[in-house]
Amino acid sequence: MAVKPDGGRPVTPASGSGLADLAVEGVPRPLPRPDGPASEFYGWTAQGELRFQRCGDCRRWRHLPRPLCPYCQSPNWAWEPSSGRGEVYTWTTTYRSLHPAFTQVPYAQVIVELEEGVRMLSWVPDVDPDDLRVGMPVTVDFLTVDGVALPVFLAGAG
């Protein structure tokens, strides 16, 4: 089943990715807090962009968003676009549902390391969990869930 994100590029989940059925009857999908500290990050993903904070002084990238640069303590920063390219750093494959909105098991949660040196927890929906490999190259795409564009990473793209 192909799911079209706002970016217009369809994402076809692999079987076993847990994404084949995004909706569980009567169970709201847990989402990032819309007005919380993550709102700017997801504001960019809503526009089809993966952006991270980048220090205006030492130029290092960081994630999660922070008010200062943890490397040089500068308060100067901007949201800069990531290349969207990265590789699989590690993962886990959940076989037992631990949340009522995530009942399609097994599904893998994957830590992806981006070229900029930051990491994200995400999905690689076009790869079966048993086929994941450390170092597998992936590229970002976006999967819209109840109006929120979640970054996901595809092995077959880019």
Partner: protein, 384 residues
Amino acid sequence: MRDLTAIAGIGESDYCRKPGSGMSVLELLLVATRRAVADAGISATEIDGIITPPAWATAEAFAAALGLHLRYVAQPTGGGASSVGALQYAASAICTGLASCVLVPVGWNGYSGFRVRNFEDAPNMPAAGHVVDYYVPYGSVAPPQWYSMIATRYDHDYGLPAEALGTVAVNTRAFAQLNDRALMRGRPLTMEEYLASPWISRPYRLLDCCLETDAAAAVIVMSTERARQLGHPVVSVSGIAEGHPLPADDLVNRPDLLHVGLSDAAPRAYEMAGLGPEDADFAQIYDCFTFEVIHQLEDAGFCGRGEAPGFVLDGHTGPGGRLPVNTHGGLLSQAHAMGLNHVVEAVRQLRHEAGASQVDGAEIGVVTGWGDFGDGSLTVLRRL
């Protein structure tokens, strides 16, 4: 602070699962507290300091229930690492004269009340907001899912045979058979049964995961001088330290996922004690998951990075081994009192009152702490 303070009183609730403790968390904590007071042989009103548990009970509630005039109150934020980390607060308060008798109570209704899979409801967790915004939307909701990602990477970098994790589970369960306070006593475990247990979040199986229990423990810390006046062999706090990974509130963006709070706390605690891991007669290691025993054996200096699976497979950490680990059955097979039960067991071992699992001639013990997402602590305890 080396050997200037001692753990002079220990107490535990009656650990249980079904049908639940039947009491509030505060009441459960007070059961353990009253037993610790009785064990110390003091009047409760001697307590003038409290290091509060991570959540669910306040110093005010303790003071009102026990009739205490408190002059020192502190609340650690290291989650499960606070059980050991609290000893740092207690010892420094006593050494500086800010308090003379400090209560450390820790517990929860972890079976009948709060369950860690509902982590976004976790009280007082600095990481809870990040979990909601960046992990839970991807169905990453609970500790077995987070720490198993470290294990996957470890397996890639060093190799992690399932039998190594299984040996941790089997050995811990073996110790539980020797402990009449262990919930899994009477339920021995074989490697075959371990390997057949179902995946929770791979590579974690059901039998890699700690128990969910209603459990509370309490210890009482005082000066070594005061402890000598009481009835038990004196068990001193020889070394103690806390540590925090950076960032502490996000597991994903650490350059080395294996570098956690314990990595930094361990050398500081050993230095304070003037001892090393080679001096330990046993280790009580915060065993939220079997892999975390592997990880912490290395971080606490018992073996080098990548060597713990072999160390465990060689039989060193089971009953009769040269470094018995979790002689009470741990969080995996005794009960989950957030690791304060590990401190209680260490004191029993050093008093030579541990019964069937007694490590002969135990003089020095190590206890580690672990909190989400990797806050750590280590104490070196010594029989004086």
